[in-house]
Every structure is written in C-alpha cells, then in structure tokens.
Symmetry: C2
Subunit: 306 residues, 2 copies
C-alpha cells in the first residue's frame, strides 16, 4: 500500500496500532476526538492529526477530502456502557458511520474499511460462526450499532459505487487497551489485591485475538480482496475460557487473591457467553493469525501489566 489514508479513531486501542503499521508506507491522517484515544499511543509516528468529533462536519470534511481510503475505527469501545446510555451506540456507530459515508460520497472518496465485530451475529449458542451465518440478531446495543454500520456501508457501496472491507473482530486484546476483560481484571486487582470479582460463572468462552494480528489481518484482507463488499471474520485459532483468563491474571498479580464469580451464564445483559469464529475465509486468501487465542491472552496480560 502507498496511499492517502484516513484513520478515524487512529489514536485509540486498535487505531494506534494500525496507525503505526500503516505509517511506514502511507500518508496518514488521524481523526480523533480523544474520547478514548491517547496521543501517547502514537507519539513519534509521522501523521496529520485532526482533533474533531465526527459530528463536527467541518473537521470531518477536512479529514476525508482527497483521501484514497478511510479506515473507520472510531466508535464507542465500551460494550457495557450502552446498557446505561441507550443512545450511545446509535450515535457513535450508526449515525457516525453514516456521516463518514455521506462525506465520502460528497468528496468522491471510494474505499472504506470498517471495524465491525462478531457481536453482529447475536447469540448462536456456541456454534461456529461463518461470515454467512444468519440470522444477525444482536443481543446488545453495541451489536445493534455495529450491524447498523455494516448495513450502511453495504448500502452506500452498492448505491454510490464505493468499495468496502468489513472486518468482524473477535475479542481484541493487547497493549494500549483501555477496556475489556484483561484490562478490567487488572484494574480490579489493583483496587483490591485480595479479591477478583468475575462477572458470570466463568464458563464464558470466546476467541481472543492479539491486536498485532488484528491490524495485520485487516491490512492483508484489504490488500488481497477486491469485491464491492469484502467481509471477513478476523480472529485467531481457538477460544479461551473467562475463568482461565481470571486465573492467569490473578497468578501474575497476586496468586493469593480469591476469585469470586457473580454467577449466571452471561457476564452481563448483552454478553454472548460462548462463540467460535470460522476464520477460513481469510485463510483461503493466505492469512492466519500468529497467536492462538490462549497465547494472545497471555501476551496481552504481559503487555498490559507493563
């Protein structure tokens, strides 16, 4: 790749790693309101930084014009927050994705890469989820926001001649993480080193992907597919149990700490307790994750404890 690239949310968790990976060969602009991103994540990387909210149309137009491709990662990163603030995911996913697409249409920018999520599939009771699995009935507002974003990207692509790459992430873990299970466990043990409270009964089991693999897979998929809509699960091999993650973090921070499970199969309303992602579609293109799910978790614990 040697392109003009806009990365929305480019100083956030995944965005900062993507910025670093793409800055070598491309001309990068970041659009980020720093609501959850952090400039220290991208210190020293050559790029243009525009500190606007996507809702500030002037900044959005400035960011999008003359780009070759938009990597749209800006979104609410906190899956559980939507339970309390019910319009958060509507605004930060559906409406903001619409705004990005509409300005792309106006400015004749033709390629978009969307950070989506496996939550769009909803709860299929642990079944292996391929990219063509249906129905897509998400069980969280976060999931509804991502599904709405996918629909908008697809509709704009077909109606106005855009090309789109949609990546449905598993649980992404690693350095610069500001949310998610490992981050939460470390924070809890920091507050009370004697006790680690785990939401649910610990039997939840999901695929975890290291952020380096996530970024690598996105770039590979973008470079190696060329349909109107290119859509991929992006995850590593295997799954990891929540109880195993709790024990791993506990053993690293304070082996004497007690683990307390709140009980119930779901960690919280909207949590998909068990799922597996079929990653064969990206594999057929020639890409696979470097780290297995368990290894991604172990590495991320190391990184986040540092």
């Amino acid at each position: 790749m040697n392109e003009k690239v806009l990365i929305t949310g480019g100083s956030g968790f995944i965005g900062s790693h993507l910025t670093k990976a793409l800055a070598k060969d491309n001309e990068i602009t970041i659009l980020d309101n720093l609501s959850s991103g952090n400039v220290k994540f991208i210190r020293g990387i050559p790029m243009r930084f525009l500190m606007y909210d996507i809702g500030q149309i002037k900044g959005l137009k400035l960011a999008i014009e003359e780009q070759d491709v938009v990597f749209h990662l800006a979104a609410n990163p906190d899956v559980r927050l939507g339970i309390q603030i019910t319009d958060l995911d509507l605004r930060q996913e559906a409406i903001n994705t619409y705004r990005v697409l509409e300005v792309m249409r106006q400015k004749d920018v033709k390629k978009i890469v969307l950070a989506s999520s496996s939550v769009i599939y909803g709860n299929h009771q642990g079944k292996l989820l391929s990219e063509d699995t249906g129905p897509c009935l998400p069980i969280s507002l976060y999931g509804a926001g991502k599904l709405a974003s996918e629909g908008l990207v697809s509709a704009f692509a077909h109606t106005y001649g855009l090309k789109a790459w949609i990546f449905r992430f598993g649980n992404v873990v690693g350095s610069n993480g500001t949310h998610g299970i490992i981050y939460d466990f470390i924070k809890k043990l920091d507050k009370n080193p004697q006790e680690l409270e785990v939401l649910g009964d610990g039997s939840q089991e999901k695929p975890y992907i290291h952020v380096s693999d996530c970024v690598d897979g996105m770039i590979y998929g973008y470079e190696h597919s060329n349909d109107t809509i290119n859509y991929f699960n992006l995850s590593s091999e295997g799954t990891t149990r929540v109880s195993d993650i709790a024990e791993k973090v506990r053993d690293r921070v304070n082996p004497q700490a007690r683990i307390i499970y709140t009980g119930g199969k779901h960690g919280w309303p909207g949590d998909v307790p068990k799922f597996q992602l079929d990653t064969s579609k990206l594999k057929q293109l020639g890409w696979k994750a470097k780290y297995k799910s368990d290894d991604a978790v172990t590495l991320a614990i190391d990184e986040l404890l540092r």
Copy 2:
C-alpha cells in the same frame, strides 16, 4: 387479542388495514404525522389518533404509555427516495425505531411488532431466502434502515426483557397504497396514456403479497409465537415478473399504450432484481397467504384503479 395497541403509522398504507383489522377486538391508538398516511383510510374506525411525529417525544410518550403492545409501522415508504435524501432512512427507520424502543423501556411496555422487509437480505441472486439466510448486506439505504431497526429491536429485547415480533414483508400491494410499482404504473399512464416507462429490463421478479394477507399474517404470527424474538418472512406463494405487471396495468388502462423498458437488470441503484422468500416458517405455525403473488397483483390493480 384483546389488548391496548399502539399502531405507529396507523393511517398509512399497511397501517390503515391493520388498524381496521385490530379495531374489532382491541383498544387502538394511532401515532401518525400524516406524512404519507391519510385520515380518509381510517374514517369511521373507533380509535384514538395522536398526530405527532415520532421525533416529538411528548407525543411519543403519550402514545406509548399504558399500551400492551406497539405495532411499529411508521417509516419512509418510498424505497427510492433514500438515493436523493441520504439520511432519510437513517432518521425514519433507525433513529425513530430507537426512540420508540427507548420510550417503551422507560414506560415498561414489553411487546413490539416490527414491520421489516425482505430488503434486509441484500442481493442473493434470486436464491430462496429463509429467515436464517446470511449475510445480511442490504444494497439500499432503505434496507440499511430496516436492518438497523431489526438490530435495535433485538438488542432492546435481549437487554431489557422485551418481546419482539419481526415480519419481513415481500412487496406489499393493495388498496390505500401510496407508493410502489402498481401505483407508479397507474400514475404514469394517467399522465401519458400512450406510453408506460418501466425501470429496468422488466425481467425483475419478486414475490408480491396482498395487504389483506400481510395484515392477517402479522396478527396470526403475533398470536401464535412467543419467543424473545419471533422473526418471519411474510409473503405469498410465487413471484411475479415486472414485465407481467406492466402488461396487466397497461391492458387495464389503455391496451394501445407502448411499454418502454429503460434497460438493465436493476430498476434503480438499490433495487434487488430477483428474489424468492421461503414462507415455510409461518406455514409451520399454521398460516398461509390467501392470494398467490400473481393474484395479489391482479387484485391490487383492480383496487388501485377504483
């Protein structure tokens, strides 16, 4: 059914028929801004009418409080209008569905019936579409709006303990129609009786359902299923070619008129040219449409010419 029922869009095309069918046994409230509905469609039917836009929260709260169930039909009825007004379907489907759900949550109203559409499936090249067909990558902004509405309904249901019935309509035709293919053909011949312009090459082929069957199927499905999310294709048997519809309308209005095809497989960007809907799920519950697709079209032409 003997319930307190809110029908959003209750004086519109499908809404007016639903209002009539439900008014016999239920206590009806209609919320309608009359943007495409018409009070003459519901003249003489006992009900409470609230003329507010869904965006007017005061009216929405008044409409929703103390209801047993909300039939949410209000939406942009014009699939093609979204091409010009790109935020129309975002506002009238995604955002308005969110508003309805959020007020239901606040007012503790637990049941919602959503008028969705087969456009959520996107273009599967004529394949028979079951309710579990994936991926759901709509090709029109109208379709993206409906998909977003489904996601929101599903997410609210799972997160806040609602129950939902989702009906994915085929092409609904019949009296009180204010948009759609038959209505358009009649209008065109009214303007110029010598010539009927048809968008596309006429080979488009889709299932058409008569509005009486559509309403009957919705009520039947609502009364005979009880999961958290109950989702159904709602259509009649068979499909009808666009060229056949053009000829039927021409023959009724002016047999001498020339039919001109604009060419191309799609009628317009975002038009799914060919699809079939698998209706076995509702059939297994004991319901089927009275009219086949061709008969529904013939009946609707009669009704709309009256």
